[in-house]
Symmetry: C2
Subunit: 167 residues, 2 copies
DNA sequence: TATTGTTATACTCTATAACTATA
DNA sequence: TATAGTTATAGAGTATAACAATA
């Protein structure tokens, strides 16, 4: 299956063909890489990308993050964060800590076991990603990063505008 | 939620920080755009991205595509294509046609109603995508397309190698 | 009243594997 | 035997809405 023609890009057919082709190519690239990462996480570590992402957030914030902060950063709604956190707590990889001064909230943070497990996964994850971009020169990597920076900023501007208009 | 810090990129922290940051930025961009497309398809047309993608394939192949071809092109397994096709058939948007000389297979193609519905959706879809890349010059669009072409080709090469090794 | 987080629910998408019919 | 497609099932991932506790 993986070697067959990838024809998602067939969708582009209009006067704005350039933008459409770019979008379909962007989508194809991210799907191809994501499939390998998800598969690897499942096969080698019996985990999932959202779980990995949640742990990655906590690894960057050793003091812990509140559920709501996790929800924002992971771009998913609160119920999902509760579910993933429950799983990770049950496995001893993260813990909920009381927040002084606000008894509604928790700080979620990695346990030592969780930190160790994450570092193990992150090492392998890094190899997948390095391999994924192996075909590009450092200069290409930099150009791509800068160009996608413009795309990302533009999306955030659009979303900001939508939110502002809704207020 | 949409305006909060997007901190998926926080994951990059190693000696291969460049590749990791690039991957996380690529993922963020495609997620941001995809969320808007999925939301728009749901709200304005009560449909989903996989359904739209299937119809887009058929629009490019007026003679029809076999279930297996659709499965390849959409990068999903056969059972899923059956399910989506069943939905679209029930709504009168696509039809299964007998294939001469192979009574196991069908050709799936858009009905006139399906073609009309798709064109309607594709027009709106194009506007979302044009808006998504509005911040980039034609030159940027071209650079990005070329660079992502290298990325895509490299993924396909990797997958080819994996398939070959498995044989 | 508003906010934090949980619970309950439902739906889409996906892969796997067993199955039917045909090649 | 192999292939095209279907069915059945299970699980990931997500959103929504009602809810409890606290601010």
């Amino acid at each position: 299956m993986l070697t067959d023609t990838l024809d998602l890009e067939a969708r582009a057919h209009s006067e704005h063909a350039q933008e459409l082709r770019l979008w379909l190519r962007l989508l194809t690239c991210s799907q191809l890489i994501e499939k390998r990462v998800r598969g690897g996480l499942r096969e080698q570590f019996d985990t999932t990308l959202p779980r990995f992402d949640l742990m990655a957030q906590l690894e960057r914030h050793p003091e812990g993050l509140k559920m709501k902060e996790l929800s924002h950063r992971l771009m998913v709604t609160g119920g999902n964060v509760t579910g993933i956190t429950d799983q990770l707590v049950a496995e001893g990889l993260v813990e909920r800590m009381a927040v002084e001064g606000d008894r509604r909230a928790f700080l979620v943070r990695l346990t030592p076991a969780g930190r160790s497990a994450f570092e193990h996964m992150a090492t392998q994850h890094e190899q997948w990603i390095v391999e994924a971009f192996d075909g590009l020169s450092p200069r290409d990597l930099d150009s791509l990063h800068k160009l996608l920076g413009k795309v990302k900023q533009h999306q955030l501007d659009i979303n900001q505008r939508i939110v502002t208009e809704a207020e």
